[in-house]
């Protein structure tokens, strides 16, 4: 299965974002990299099913997301894993993320239901449209919209944020700068 160079480049180009997605999903860098590796193996084994001209990145995200889902179900059966346990794991390993700056945010993110978390990340960080995110998650566009809205509301609750001032003066300035998206 010698790869087309353009395909190889497209896959490698998507890896940094796929890693960020995987880490946001599972909260553990080592496990995230294992997910990315398995995703790469699956993508290459099924490269013939990729339709040239369609979005390579979205295709890879779908594979990673589905693999994470099935792994998660398996683990859950094995060790009674849960979002709560995941949040606890996260708290005990803040150093895995480098800076502690976003620790509170990460902890709040970890407490979101999985459906909401993945929807928020795909739309809010990975840069997918609602339609693309719906395709990746295999659900309706309206479902993604509602999950993203609920995720935002819940995050604000968990972080006790009622207005941008609650983030502190410096960060409010940055929020203003960032709001021109």
């Amino acid at each position: 299965m010698a790869m087309d160079e353009s395909v190889r480049k497209a896959i490698l180009g998507a890896v940094p974002s796929l890693r960020a997605f995987a880490i946001s999903l599972c909260g553990n860098v080592d496990r995230a990299d294992d997910l990315v590796q398995e995703m790469l193996l699956r993508a290459l084994a099924n490269i013939d099913s990729f339709q040239p001209g369609t979005n390579m990145s979205a295709w890879l995200f779908t594979i990673l997301r589905n693999h994470f889902r099935s792994e998660y179900r398996k683990r859950r059966r094995e060790v009674e894993d849960s979002d709560g346990r995941y949040a606890e794991t996260l708290k005990s390993q803040p150093e895995q993320y480098g800076q502690v700056e976003y620790r509170e945010f990460r902890e709040a993110l970890a407490q979101l239901p999985q459906d909401q978390r993945e929807a928020l990340i795909l739309v809010g960080a990975s840069g997918f449209s609602y339609e693309e995110a719906a395709n990746i998650c295999g659900c309706a566009v309206g479902t993604i919209k509602s999950r993203v809205n609920r995720a935002r509301t819940r995050l604000a609750e968990l972080m006790h944020v009622n207005s941008a001032e609650d983030f502190g003066p410096d960060e409010t300035v940055r929020a203003v700068l960032a709001s021109g998206e």
């Binding site: 940094p16 995050l155 944020v161 941008a164 960060e171």
Partner: protein, 73 residues
């Protein structure tokens, strides 16, 4: 939960939880709050994106590609 932050009316997990139960529909978030949450999410995400592609994945793709060529699969 966090003593550093000035908070509004609710400053405990319990209060937030009970509010969630009692409110039929959650209050709509202000645009400023949404923007700030979005900025934090992207900053966290981009921290990983900026790490680029770890060698293990470049090596893996090269290895698979070379094997594929040799085996003629």
């Amino acid at each position: 939960m966090n003593e550093r932050k000035p908070v509004g009316q609710e400053n405990t997990m319990e209060a937030a939880a009970s509010r969630k139960k009692s409110a039929a529909k959650p209050a709509k978030l202000g645009r400023d709050v949404q923007a700030r949450l979005g900025q934090q999410l992207r900053a966290m995400y981009d921290e990983v994106v900026n790490q680029g592609v770890p060698d293990r994945f470049t090596d893996l793709l090269n290895r698979l590609n070379n094997n594929g060529s040799k085996d003629g699969q």
